[in-house]
């Protein structure tokens, strides 16, 4: 059985999607899938990186995190 659980965007996800899905996969994923994984900031300030939506600063953020 393949299970897909979706939650309202105000909740913490059961899996930590940022550490679960490999970066090599992320680069090929659609904007919708990135949104589902939390890489897009909604209207409110949720999931920010450097005050911005993560999808706008992914490459530079990865570089910094790997230092």
């Amino acid at each position: 059985m393949y299970s897909l659980f979706f939650v309202r965007g105000v909740y913490r996800t059961e899996e930590n999607q940022f550490l679960t899905v490999p970066r090599s996969k992320l680069s090929k994923m659609s904007p919708k899938m990135l949104e589902l994984l939390g890489y897009k900031k909604p209207s409110m300030a949720l999931g920010l990186v450097d005050n911005r939506s993560p999808h706008e600063v992914m490459d530079e953020t990865w570089r910094r995190l790997m230092q």
Partner: protein, 265 residues
């Protein structure tokens, strides 16, 4: 004096008597059913079976994509079982977490128009914030909480009836106050084989998504999400339960009441 031994892992649940006859059943529709129809059934029952939601060809693709992970994890040496996150899932089950990162087809299914529409209708937050003279329409899109393959081995006991939204400590209002506004999540459970009561179809209690926190489900209220189901999104919230099995899908609901630190940062 030593304290009594205690474990948060309970003994296996008592099997359902083979002579048990469910009083109700779960509605099955085709994948061409309208979203409004599906929403109507979900609002009433909390779960629905959508036949042939995923084609056989796509199912074969998924199986091929995750084959390596299935083979890496024999039941008796299954690394996914080393954690205690899913202690309520029988140990005979092979779990493959992070499924969307391992199967492109599963990721593609996440974007299926039906699932997208259900997310839009059930889980998307749309509201307006007022700050003095400033009016700001807000939209918060849903998230993927968990993508997980569950291959349940022979002889596994059933899970006890439970509500998946207990994870977020959702408070449930009185039945007469229920609405989709109260739903915190839903699940799409895709059956990887023909599912029957005998081989472990998911069990759930129709209508239990509307129950408040003073009522818990008992085994004599169960329905089985059999048979020959391709996909069965059912209501999560509804105290749903799984049996021995392999495959089935349900959609889960739950109610959002008050939130504390389990919310997103």
């Amino acid at each position: 004096m030593s304290s009594p031994e205690w474990s948060h892992i309970p003994a296996p649940a008592t099997p359902i008597d083979p002579s048990y006859k469910p009083k109700g059943s779960i509605v099955t529709v085709s994948a061409t059913a309208s979203v409004d129809y599906i929403l109507g059934v979900l609002a009433r029952d909390g779960g629905i079976i959508i036949k042939d939601f995923v084609s056989k060809a796509k199912m074969n693709t998924i199986e091929e994509e995750i084959k390596a992970w299935n083979e890496q994890q024999p039941v008796e040496n299954n690394s996914s079982r080393t954690g205690d996150a899913f202690h309520i899932i029988p140990s005979q089950t092979i779990l493959i977490p992070g499924l969307v990162g391992k199967s492109d087809m599963v990721a593609e299914i996440c974007e299926d128009p039906l699932l997208e529409s259900l997310r839009e209708n059930i889980l998307t937050e749309k509201y307006t914030v007022y700050r003095e003279d400033w009016v700001e329409p807000i939209r918060i899109e849903p998230l993927l909480s968990l993508s997980l393959s569950m291959n349940i081995g022979y002889g596994a006991p059933r899970q006890r009836l439970h509500r998946d939204d207990n994870t977020h400590r959702i408070r449930h209002p009185k039945p007469e106050n229920w609405s989709f506004e109260n739903v915190s999540q839903f699940a799409c459970l895709i059956a990887g084989c023909d599912v029957t009561r005998e081989n472990g179809a998911t069990m759930f209690v129709p209508g239990s998504h509307k129950w408040d926190d003073h009522r818990t489900a008992t085994a004599d209220e169960i329905c089985f999400a059999g048979k020959n189901i391709s996909l069965y999104p059912s209501d999560t919230q509804t105290n749903s339960m799984h049996l021995i099995n392999r495959n089935v899908c349900r959609i889960c609901f739950d109610i959002l009441w008050i939130c504390f630190s389990w919310r997103r940062t």
